[in-house]
């Protein structure tokens, strides 16, 4: 036991208790009931042991990586990726894309730099349009992000500033898209997601749009996320009071197989629509295969086959049965590096003596 700081003071019990007393006495006595109530509330909250629910942006992350909507392409593409350093990570990418039905042929150059705290990423295409991303982690729970798209024409600029705070059992996020310091116009989004129990998290996202001085619009959406106790399945729902509901379900069937379903219902007075999508993803040793079927009559599949650690081949296909159209995509991805295996932190294969 540590001795009390002053000889004259009567022993008040353990040292920790006296120190907390002296700390609270420095605050004004008016606030001490609130401080006490807050500290009791926060210790009670910590005792519940609720997990962090993850961010609102990543609410449907599992479904998005299982479905191939974000990965499909048509035409031909080649990505040449060059890793120049592992720690900190620094890589440059040259991407070529042509023969697409919907987009003109493009060339783009990308650069990425990342260490434990900072992420810098940029992309420029042959027309000079730049997109960039910047992330800075201030501490384990605070992250600031900036995202920008700068076009050659004056009107094609988008900038987004964002701050993320993840507490013990909740996540806060604030976003500003194209904020103008002059008249305060822009789009502002705030979201809050709170774990209610070990499996359930509820949240709200509010969007405030301000076009000019006297035109403002506010809309909220409500979120729910239900996670299985073993982390094998996740169900989410997002509801907007104007009549839009999106519900997703993701299930990890085995170590290598994941399945996901997504239902989007729009029941606004002007428009009534619903789309359901189901998809699976197989993670095999050297390849990834995704297949997807949706209620608009589209069947699509995507195979990423890795022939060597640095060479991957991708085939994508989509058939729209209702419109009677099809899309096919072929891509190669070549990764080269200027580093030796030792510099990349690879362990030399066993059986070969290392001199």
């Amino acid at each position: 036991m540590v001795a009390p700081p002053h000889e004259s003071s009567v022993s008040l019990g353990p040292y920790t208790e006296t120190s907390s007393l002296s700390k609270s006495s420095t605050l004004s006595p008016t606030f001490s009931p609130f401080v006490n109530a807050y500290s009791r509330l926060s210790s009670w909250r910590a005792a519940l042991g609720l997990p962090n629910p993850g961010s609102v942006e990543n609410l449907q992350k599992e479904v998005k990586t299982t479905h191939l909507t974000n990965f499909i392409f048509d035409g031909a593409r080649a990505d040449l990726m060059k890793g120049l350093s592992m720690d900190p990570a620094f890589q440059v990418t040259h991407s070529f894309q042509l023969a697409s039905q919907s987009a003109p042929p493009t060339y783009s150059f990308g650069a990425l730099f990342a260490n434990a705290k900072v992420l810098l990423q940029g992309n420029v295409d042959h027309e000079g349009n730049v997109s960039g991303r910047f992330q800075q982690s201030w501490s384990a729970s605070n992250t600031s992000k900036m995202q920008a798209q700068l076009g050659m024409q004056p009107g094609h600029t988008m900038i987004q500033l964002e701050h993320d705070y993840s507490g013990q059992d909740y996540t806060l996020n604030a976003k500003a898209i194209n904020p103008s310091p002059l008249d305060g116009s822009g789009i502002y989004v705030g979201s809050y997601l709170q774990s209610i129990s070990k499996n359930l998290a509820l949240g709200v996202e509010t969007l405030y749009q301000r076009a000019a001085l006297d035109q403002a619009e506010m809309s909220s959406s409500y979120l729910a996320k239900l996670t299985g106790s073993n982390g094998k399945w996740i169900a989410t729902a997002q509801f907007q009071p104007i009549g839009v509901l999106q519900a997703t379900y993701w299930h990890k069937l085995s170590e290598k197989v994941e399945a996901a379903a997504d239902l989007q219902v729009i029941a606004a007075p002007m428009r009534r629509d619903a789309i359901a999508t189901i998809g699976t993803k197989y993670d095999l040793r050297m390849s990834t295969f995704r297949a997807q079927l949706d209620s608009t009559g589209k069947v699509s599949a995507l195979l990423e086959q890795r022939f060597a650690p640095s060479f991957a081949f991708t085939v994508a296909g989509e058939i729209d049965h209702f419109k009677n159209s099809a899309k096919v995509g072929v891509g190669v991805m070549i990764e080269s590096t200027s580093l030796t295996p030792e510099e990349m932190g690879m362990v030399p294969p066993p059986g070969q003596p290392h001199f």
Binding site: K82, P88, A111, N115, V130, A148, T157, L182
Partner: protein, 51 residues
């Protein structure tokens, strides 16, 4: 309410910042990556797709 002159100055400053970001962002990443990388790569490997 800021005066017209201040407003114009702010608009010009934003425009200038956007131009700097547009032309400077990729060179900035390459400069940061080039100077902080371990080991330092050669410049030709950095730019050319074939080297």
């Amino acid at each position: 309410m800021p005066s017209e002159e201040t407003k114009e100055r702010v608009v010009r400053a934003i425009d200038f910042g956007r131009t700097v970001l547009h032309y400077g962002w990729i060179p900035f990443i390459i400069y940061v990556g080039y100077t902080r990388s371990n080991p330092q790569p050669s410049l030709i490997k950095l730019i050319s797709p074939l080297a």
